[in-house]
Symmetry: C2
Subunit: 534 residues, 2 copies
Amino acid sequence: MGENDDSEIIEHHVDEAMEKKASHRSHTHSFLESVTSSEREGHSSTQSSHRLLAYSDALISIIATVMILPVAHTKLEESEDLSESFRLLMTTKIGVYLMTFLIVTVAWAAHIRLFQVIERIDDFLALLNLACMMLITFLPYTFTLMAAFPEKILGILLFCTCVMVIGVIQAVIVIYGFSRPFLLNEQIQISENQAYYKQHILKVIMRVPIMCLIASIFTFIFYQLAYVILAIVIFLPYITQSLKWCRSKAIGQPVEDTPESMLFYTYHPNEPLSKERVEAFSDGVYAIVATLLILDICEDNVPDPSVVQSEFGGSLVAALRQYGPEFLAYFGSFATVGLLWFVHHSLFLHVTRTTRLMGLFNTFSLAFVGGLPLAYELTHEFPRRSRNALEAVQISCVILFFAGIFQLAIWVAALFDERRLLHPLVRYGGRDHVYMLAKLGLYPAVALGAFFLTCVLGEFSTSIFHLMQLGVPLAFLLLRLLVRAGLALLRVLLVALRKQPQPGAQEGGGGGVEARLVEVEDEDSRVPFSDLVS
Amino acid sequence: MGENDDSEIIEHHVDEAMEKKASHRSHTHSFLESVTSSEREGHSSTQSSHRLLAYSDALISIIATVMILPVAHTKLEESEDLSESFRLLMTTKIGVYLMTFLIVTVAWAAHIRLFQVIERIDDFLALLNLACMMLITFLPYTFTLMAAFPEKILGILLFCTCVMVIGVIQAVIVIYGFSRPFLLNEQIQISENQAYYKQHILKVIMRVPIMCLIASIFTFIFYQLAYVILAIVIFLPYITQSLKWCRSKAIGQPVEDTPESMLFYTYHPNEPLSKERVEAFSDGVYAIVATLLILDICEDNVPDPSVVQSEFGGSLVAALRQYGPEFLAYFGSFATVGLLWFVHHSLFLHVTRTTRLMGLFNTFSLAFVGGLPLAYELTHEFPRRSRNALEAVQISCVILFFAGIFQLAIWVAALFDERRLLHPLVRYGGRDHVYMLAKLGLYPAVALGAFFLTCVLGEFSTSIFHLMQLGVPLAFLLLRLLVRAGLALLRVLLVALRKQPQPGAQEGGGGGVEARLVEVEDEDSRVPFSDLVS
């Protein structure tokens, strides 16, 4: 690569001429952007890592959500009691799904760390990354084996082998990157401590495969210990840092940190996290989850022509009517997941940078989103007014509530450091602060409201659920108007009373429950009101 | 939105202060970028459409590939003859898959057109787009119904209804966009012909739903005609334009075009196509296809503990051995799809902008990529040296060949207008021209070679296939070296002979077959050689 120095100058001239031409001829903004960026990147054999990371995010998001399929495909017997069969599901398949989701997102976080250090790639790194991806996509299977055969050592051995190979590949990537410093992050490129950085990063990366090696040796001696070691390896950095952070928040005195110069691999909750990749990963998960049900519908819900002829007298409409609930579940879950994506999208438009803690809340939210299609399918599977139908609706509400509340948690976490993390519009007192609160609060509030309503009016649980499915998209369409109306009403009330505002009136979406929610967020929401009033 | 003019000025000050702070504190390049861009976008309630489009691309790519699942899940009976059952598959499920892929990509192309006109969005447009996506994801099901019950009118009626509603939503988006010109493409914003643009675009968009309305009326009278009308609606613009283009290329005389001022909705093969969206869509398809097999493996290939105990004497390894072929197929297809993605990624790094024609070739390539996992699964399903195994290997080679050759076609199409479409490095005579040719040519050449080898050495078809699976990733790792060695060898030969170079020696990857390929590309490859020699 060093031998082409002179040819690059010539190329640069050509580039400039072409860039001028391009800016002259380019029709739309995005074309110009794509041209100039690829002009910049294409000089030598190094490339921007952007698309490689987008592809990796797509792969990882698919793998993270795939273990919900075995859960969704477990058919309940008509005669079974939902709570009983659900407990059975709960203990095995849902557990596997959640653990896989967590482990895959841990691998994803490691991948982000790595490519925040290595910012440019070449063909060799791209191929190494693909090998790494292949092993990551295999992790869920090893995990399924572990869950199905906890006392056999094969599952844990396979898992350890995968993790070790991934670790070695990552170490090779780091060593290769540091041997070609133009691939590195600018901060490290100009740093004088390059050797120290390299050593620190390699130490952190190699910690995991070495522990896995120890764990895989222990499997032959005393396999329970191997599980313990693995759990420690994966979660220890997060647990210690969370404890440290909680302590520092509680006592108020700052904990001594890694030196300011060390920005990577700190495992600090404030450690930066590429916002672009959080968005790409979330998009992947939302897209897969939104389409989960249509995948099943396309495959399973096409009646056999002979059956239509014999059982339904040739009437296709009659034959399809039996699948009605599934179609309803599809449209319902697509709309819900789509609207949750919409809320996520609105929030991240106003987030200027992400931290590890926000990423963690995002992961929790996504894990619940993954369960939504399953829950929605359940709600349509039982005869109306049965106890099962009631429980299915309540489970859906609980999942929806947690999916929404963790989205809200992302925002709340960002508000603690709003100057650094949030756009002025949605900070305390910003113009769209209340609007954002309404957007983020709508789903948790409605889900909580529906849950308690079904507790009281158990017989109408399905109707309440359908009402919610119809009402929420409408509420989103009119949300800005509702928030404005609420604020105007509040202002009128304030002028009339000249007293402390009553926060219950502002939301308009979910009635009484929202009032509770607003009380929690009270210190957030009061500032803009006084701003508006004064 | 208009009432906040004065508050925006204040915000802008805050923004600037924050931007300075951000650039001071931001650690990595990407954070700075994300901050500044979201600063720019977040001002009012309008937003950049970037993430909305990425999410739409993810949804559409999933839906486009999902119909391969029914094909993949059709299990062959051991006793059946592959060619017989494959013919059965061919006529129905593969047909449905290919048609769905085509129709969904047509819908995707319409979506791209729309959002090349509307460049910024607000909440209302985001929600409308989600509604549109919900209907697009439902299209494959209506298509399955049509294929299963061609003489029932329900399928075609549902399809027409979906298309009509999508058309109406798109029209609403256009009308809404033109009523708020700051949402529009800059080109149109500054144009004096805005009304003309609006009229033209609405006319093009509404053509489809109106034709569908006519088709759905005809279903009640004479349903065959409805299919004809639909086929015309969807493909006519492309067919007429392709014919026009071919004629102009054949005769050499330019065809009179739509006026230069009209840049959108021309259906011309040179009409620009957002490169970013082609990449996002391709990434989605490659990611889904790469993980298709692991989805099945995670769900189906976990043996039941009781079966392991009773049939395999408690040995999990023995129980898993029966699934061996499936794991092999998974790793093989993941590696192949990953490497095809790698080639695609390398190509698009050097493509500065995309045209409709390139997009079409890309779609064809992706449609074949979707069939790869299925083909790879087949290769491991039959006893070695059987006729079925031979045919399965040959089918895999054919699919692989077409997937690769259409990627090559993208590049060849770009070479016809290389000054506008390609980076200087990969043009005729560019430094990486031969390297790119080798990358793009490797898979088609190897597939063709393997195909003819299996014709001659039918007994060793499985071994040849395994050799190919192992050899190709290795070839990619060493490709730059191989190309350099080939070129050096060529130079030596040239110096020794002082004659016309023999193009057969340069590739090194696939032996004799590549020589044929190079002969086709001869005028491309000869330029850099003479450059290098002189």
